[in-house]
């Protein structure tokens, strides 16, 4: 599972209004990893995600999927969009069908002509995402958490290799955020690459294998969470706060090495005990 699933070489994107959304972006997305894209509002995260799915075409630069250049002919785009699934921030922008069952079938119908195959995949997806009770309901009558699950199910049903999620936990409470990330983790466990854009630094720190930090259409740094989040000045430059565990660790132990940052509260407690015991002795 080595190598990069997508590479961006010097990608620039300018909106028709003249606004520069991305400016000379070079980025490599490693296959099979959990990647978090961070940046303040207007950093170009959503534009980048739309470029990955081939919805937008770069003004300058190249995108490569598994080493092959993106091509924007209808047939090539269809092939690309099958492999790169895109989950939108606002579920209402994605839901089109009158029932959950039909919503999940929408992408599959565009992909396959065999109705029996589509039906079996829809059933499988409904089972995997525990949507049995709401399968005949209108997506607009669902709660935000259920809507997000339906959107995810409709994309996962198409079996993409890379799942791109624009703020998957937006509008969700803690419980539904946990459910959503559990699903994402499960998918990553099956070998899929997951890329999310988020403002939740604590979640990104605990969850991601790779963190990409953006500012005003440019990539500031790409690396492991410990490496990225330990760089306080860069975080400030991007207009993002450090995760609470990193901030607390740096405040308590200024000389702490970035590899020693605790990943969760239990590790933090353990570290705190160790240091306290060492101080006493």
């Amino acid at each position: 599972m080595d190598g990069n699933i997508i590479e961006l070489n010097n990608v620039t994107y300018q909106y028709p209004s003249g606004a520069m959304a991305l400016n000379g972006v070079d980025l490599k997305l490693p296959r099979g990893k959990k990647i978090a894209l961070l940046g303040a509002n207007g950093a170009g995260k959503s534009t980048l995600l739309l470029l990955l799915n081939g919805i937008l075409k770069p003004s300058i630069g190249l995108l490569k999927y598994q080493g092959c250049n993106y091509r924007y002919k209808k047939k090539d785009l269809k092939d690309l969009r099958r492999k790169v699934g895109l989950l939108f921030q606002d579920s209402d922008h994605q839901l089109i069908a009158p029932t959950v069952y039909e919503e999940i079938s929408f992408g599959l119908c565009n992909l396959y002509d065999d109705k029996a195959l589509v039906r079996s995949k829809v059933e499988e997806s409904i089972h995997d995402f525990c949507l049995e009770r709401i399968r005949n309901k209108s997506p607009h009558q669902l709660s935000a958490g259920q809507k997000k699950r339906v959107c995810l199910a409709s994309i996962i049903a198409m079996q993409p290799e890379l799942l791109v999620c624009d703020e998957p936990s937006s509008n969700l409470d803690h419980k539904h955020t946990e459910i959503t990330f559990k699903i994402l983790n499960k998918l990553q466990g099956k070998g899929k690459t997951i890329l999310i854009s988020t403002h939740d630094v604590n979640r990104a720190y605990a969850w991601a294998d790779v963190v990409v930090l953006m500012k005003e259409g440019e990539i500031l740094i790409t690396g492991a969470p410990n490496e990225v989040f330990s760089n306080k000045s860069l975080m400030e430059k991007a207009g993002i706060k450090q995760p609470i565990l990193v901030e607390a660790s740096q405040a308590l132990w200024p000389d702490i090495d970035q590899t020693e940052f605790p990943k969760d509260i239990t590790a933090f407690k353990k570290l705190l005990n160790q240091v306290s015991c060492a101080d006493l002795s």
């Binding site: 969009r81 895109l86 069952y101 039909e102 929408f106 565009n110 607009h140």
Partner: protein, 255 residues
């Protein structure tokens, strides 16, 4: 009141194939279009109103609210046919203008009213027992061009987005003391402009979302496989026979 606000997916016919549901509506639809009896039209209006309530579980009040908009246009249209200016036998005169009933047109207006109400009643029954995708599938079956089906689905979605935006923006405006005194008209104009801009933006987002899920030029959805019993055909057939019988009785015995 919008159909999408009261639509219930778990209505009594939801597990039946579309063709069986079509038997409830189509034969009678043709009868209404062919006949000239106001009594038969009134009967059909009542039957389908009652059927809508029984099958979907929507209350009578909600159904009557649903009828408000078509009723307004139908009544306006029928009055236009029935009323005449400068009538020699006016029922109302104002500053030299006299209004009267156009004798020849009155029966046409009554017939148009009864037929329109019967058709609206049946269309509502059809819309409350079929999803938009099922209607789109039916349109596809009768070879309506793809572009029109796409327009049909997007318009439906556009209206939904429009209404949602309107509701949210209206509430947001009211929270900021809009619609008070002389500000009423200005608030309304701002609302209309903002709603249209927002709904168009949302609809383009929807288009992007559909493209990301490989939208070709076809709008296909798959429905679950319906399991039905041959006896399921009995009810719609019976209703059709009863209405057809009533049609014949009214036509030949003049009831």
């Amino acid at each position: 009141m919008l159909i999408s606000q009261i639509y219930r997916h778990q209505h009594k016919l939801s597990q039946l194939p579309i063709w069986i549901r079509a038997i409830y509506v189509l034969p009678c639809f043709v009868l209404v279009l062919c006949n000239k009896s106001e009594l038969f039209n009134a009967l059909v209006s009542v039957v389908y109103l009652a059927l809508s309530i029984v099958v979907t579980g929507v209350s009578l009040r909600q159904m009557l609210l649903l009828f408000r908009a078509p009723l307004f246009f139908i009544v306006t249209g029928c009055l236009t046919i029935a009323l005449t200016f400068n009538d020699p036998h006016p029922f109302f005169t104002y500053k030299g203008f006299s209004f009267g009933w156009a004798q020849g047109n009155l029966s046409v207006a009554v017939q148009a009213f009864s037929r329109s109400m019967a058709l609206v009643s049946m269309v509502y029954f059809g819309l409350l027992t079929h999803t938009i995708s099922e209607i789109a599938e039916a349109l596809k079956y009768i070879r309506v061009p793809k572009i029109l089906i796409e327009l049909f689905i997007l318009t439906f979605k556009f209206i939904e987005n429009l209404m949602r935006s309107a509701q949210q923006m209206y509430t947001a405006q009211k929270c900021r003391l809009a619609y008070n005194g002389r500000k009423r008209l200005k608030s309304l104009s701002i609302l209309v402009f903002a709603i249209l801009r927002n709904a168009i933006a949302q609809t383009s987002q929807l288009q992007v979302a559909m493209e990301s899920r490989l939208l070709d030029d076809k709008f296909d959805f798959i429905h679950p496989k319906y399991k039905y019993h041959p006896f399921d055909v009995i009810w719609p057939t019976m209703i059709t026979y009863i209405l057809f019988g009533s049609f014949l009785i009214i036509r030949y015995y003049g009831w």
